[in-house]
C-alpha cells in the first residue's frame, strides 16, 4: 500500500470571483450546481474491460437503494441539474435501471447513459427513441472486432453494433458512439467516423486516463507521441463533427487550441456520484484524495457540492508549477489532474502526456503510483473476459464527456 501524494492545498491562493469577463474564468470558481455530473449506478458489470476507469465488476452491497436513488434524482431536480451522465459498471444490470430512468425523465432530469449495448434490445431501443430526455452512448474501442474485443472482451464488438442497429431502426438519432483512444485504435479514426455515420450516430472520442484498472495498462495502451500528433491533426480537421468532451485539451499545446473550455473542470463544473453515494471531483479521480463526501452521511449532494472543503480548494485558480513558463500554458494549463495523480506525477507539473515532452524524465524516473482506494473487479472468471495479450480492457466509460460546455453557446453583451 503506497500513500497518495498530498494535493498541494496551500499552493492555491485564495482569490475572489471576477465580475464579468470570460466564461472560463467564471467556471474556475465553480458553479452552484455541476454542468457535467456523472452518476455511476452500480459497480456491477457483465464485462471486465482491462482499462475500466472505476475497476468495476462486482456489485457493492452498500449501493444506493431504489428509494435513495429516487431521492437523489429529486435533489438533482431541485438543483436544476438538467441532465446526468449515467454509467457504472454497466448501469442496465441494475434491476431498477429502467424504473430509475423513467423516474428521472418524469422529474425533468435528462439522462445520457453509457452502455456496452448488450441489453439494448429492439423493444428497449423503441422506448429510448420515444423521449427527448434520454440519450444513449455505446462504448466501442476498436473499429474492428479484433482491436475492440482484445480490450473489451469477446463478442463486445458485435453487441455494440447490434445495439446501434436497434437504435437506428427505432428512429433514434444522434446517439453517441463513444471511443477511448488507445495505441491500437488511433489508426482507425476514419473508420470509427464511418461506423458512426452508418448508424446515424455521433462520434465521441475520449482520452484514455490511467484511472481504475486503466492505471495497470496505461503504459502499454496510451497513444505514443507520434500518435498523439496524428490524433491532434485529425481533431483539427474533423473537430466540428466529433465530440470530445474537452478530453484532449493537453493536445492544444501543439498549436491552435481545440474547441472547448481548456480547463480542468474537476469539482468546478464536473463531479461524480458513485454507486455507494460517495462524491468525487471527477469520474476519473475515484480515490480518497478526491472524495468530497458522501450523500448519505454529509447532508446530501447539494451540501457536499456547495460546502465540501475539497471542492472549495479546487475552486481556487490553479498554480501552474513547472508549467507556468510554458508558452502553451494558456490552452493546456498543465493537462489532466487525474492523469498526473494516478501516474504519480506532481499535480502542479506537466501532464504525463505533455506534448512538449516535459514529463518524459519524470515518467521514466522513479515514481510512486498512488494505487486505487476501491476495487470491484471480478475475482473469478468472466464469460467473455478480454484476453489481455498486451491489451487492456476497460469498463463502459462514463466520463465527464459530452462536455456541454464544448457545444454550449455563450450569449453575452
Amino acid at each position: 500500500m503506497t500513500l497518495a501524494p498530498e494535493r498541494p492545498v496551500t499552493a492555491r491562493p485564495v482569490t475572489a470571483r471576477p465580475v464579468g469577463g470570460k466564461l472560463v474564468d467564471q467556471f474556475e470558481f465553480g458553479l452552484d450546481a455541476p454542468i457535467c455530473l456523472t452518476w455511476e449506478l452500480t459497480y456491477a458489470c457483465n464485462l471486465a474491460c482491462v482499462h475500466c476507469l472505476s475497476s468495476s465488476g462486482r456489485r457493492d452491497p452498500d449501493e444506493l437503494t431504489t428509494d435513495e436513488a429516487k431521492a437523489l434524482i429529486d435533489e438533482f431536480e431541485r438543483m436544476q441539474i438538467f441532465y446526468v451522465n449515467i454509467g457504472g459498471g454497466e448501469p442496465t444490470v441494475r434491476p431498477d435501471f429502467w424504473e430509475l430512468l423513467d423516474y428521472a425523465v418524469e422529474h425533468h432530469v435528462g439522462v445520457k447513459f453509457s452502455t456496452n449495448g448488450f441489453r439494448i434490445t429492439p423493444e428497449r431501443a423503441a422506448k429510448l427513441a420515444a423521449t427527448d430526455y434520454v440519450d444513449v452512448q455505446i462504448s466501442l474501442d476498436g473499429a474492428t472486432a479484433e482491436v475492440n474485443d482484445h480490450v473489451r472482451g469477446a463478442g463486445t464488438y458485435d453487441a455494440a453494433l447490434r445495439a446501434m442497429a436497434n437504435l437506428q431502426a427505432a428512429g433514434m438519432k444522434d446517439f453517441k458512439l463513444s471511443v477511448v483512444c488507445t495505441r491500437h485504435n488511433i489508426g482507425q479514426l476514419d473508420d470509427f467516423k464511418a461506423i458512426a455515420d452508418t448508424y446515424g450516430a455521433q462520434l465521441r472520442l475520449t482520452r484514455l486516463r490511467p484511472s481504475g484498472r486503466g492505471a495497470d495498462v496505461w503504459d502499454e495502451l496510451h497513444p505514443l507521441p507520434e500518435q498523439q500528433r496524428e490524433l491532434y491533426d485529425w481533431l483539427v480537421a474533423n473537430g466540428d463533427r466529433v465530440l470530445t468532451g474537452d478530453s484532449f485539451f493537453h493536445l492544444s499545446a501543439y498549436g491552435d487550441a481545440l474547441p472547448g473550455l481548456n480547463l480542468c473542470g474537476a469539482g468546478r463544473v464536473v463531479c461524480l456520484v458513485d454507486p455507494v453515494g460517495d462524491v468525487y471531483a471527477c469520474p476519473f479521480a475515484i480515490h480518497d484524495t478526491f472524495k468530497a463526501g458522501n450523500i448519505r452521511s454529509d447532508g446530501g449532494f447539494d451540501t457536499v457540492w456547495k460546502h465540501s472543503e475539497l471542492f472549495a480548494d479546487l475552486r481556487n485558480p490553479q498554480t501552474g508549477g513547472a508549467c507556468v513558463s510554458c508558452s502553451a500554458y494558456d490552452s493546456c494549463r498543465g493537462g489532466c489532474m487525474a492523469a498526473k495523480f494516478f501516474t504519480g506525477l506532481p499535480l502542479d507539473g506537466p501532464d504525463p502526456e505533455c506534448v512538449k515532452g516535459n514529463a518524459e524524465t519524470a515518467i521514466a524516473g522513479e515514481r510512486t503510483r498512488p494505487g486505487s482506494s476501491q476495487d470491484h473487479s471480478h475475482t473469478g472468471t468472466v464469460r467473455n473476459a478480454p484476453v489481455p495479450l498486451t491489451l487492456l480492457t476497460r469498463r463502459p466509460d462514463s466520463p465527464c464527456d459530452e462536455s456541454p460546455v464544448t457545444t454550449g453557446r455563450r450569449i453575452g453583451l
Binding site: 438538467f82 425533468h108 430526455y133 453557446r409 455563450r410 450569449i411 453575452g412
Partner: protein
C-alpha cells in the same frame, strides 16, 4: 427564424434557466443544447418577457439604461435565433 423582435416574446417552453453567479445557464430539453447567459440583467429581462407585451417594455421594466438597449436587443436576437425565446403569438401562415 424570426429576425425581428416585434410583438410579444417569452422563454420557450422546452427551456429551463438556472441562475448562476455570472448570469444563468439555459438548457433546451428538446435540443439538448446548453447556453450561457452572461449577465444577470439579461436573465432578468428574459424572465420579464412573458407578460411584458413587448421586448421594449421588458427592457424598461428590468431597468436597462436606454443607451444599452441596442446591445440587449442583439443578445435577445441571438436568443431568438437559437430558440431559447419564442414569439408569444406566432403569426399563422397565410
Amino acid at each position: 427564424m424570426p429576425a425581428t423582435l416585434a410583438g410579444s416574446w417569452r422563454l420557450s417552453s422546452s427551456v429551463s434557466l438556472r441562475p448562476e453567479p455570472f448570469g444563468a445557464l439555459a438548457y433546451d430539453f428538446a435540443t439538448r443544447q446548453l447556453s450561457f447567459l452572461k449577465s444577470p440583467l439579461l436573465v432578468d429581462v428574459v424572465r420579464r418577457l412573458a407578460g411584458a407585451g413587448s421586448v421594449d417594455a421588458a427592457l424598461d421594466s428590468a431597468g436597462v439604461p436606454a443607451e444599452q438597449h441596442a446591445a440587449y436587443l442583439d443578445a435577445l436576437r441571438s436568443l431568438a435565433r437559437t430558440g431559447i425565446i419564442t414569439a408569444d403569438h406566432p403569426r399563422s401562415s397565410p
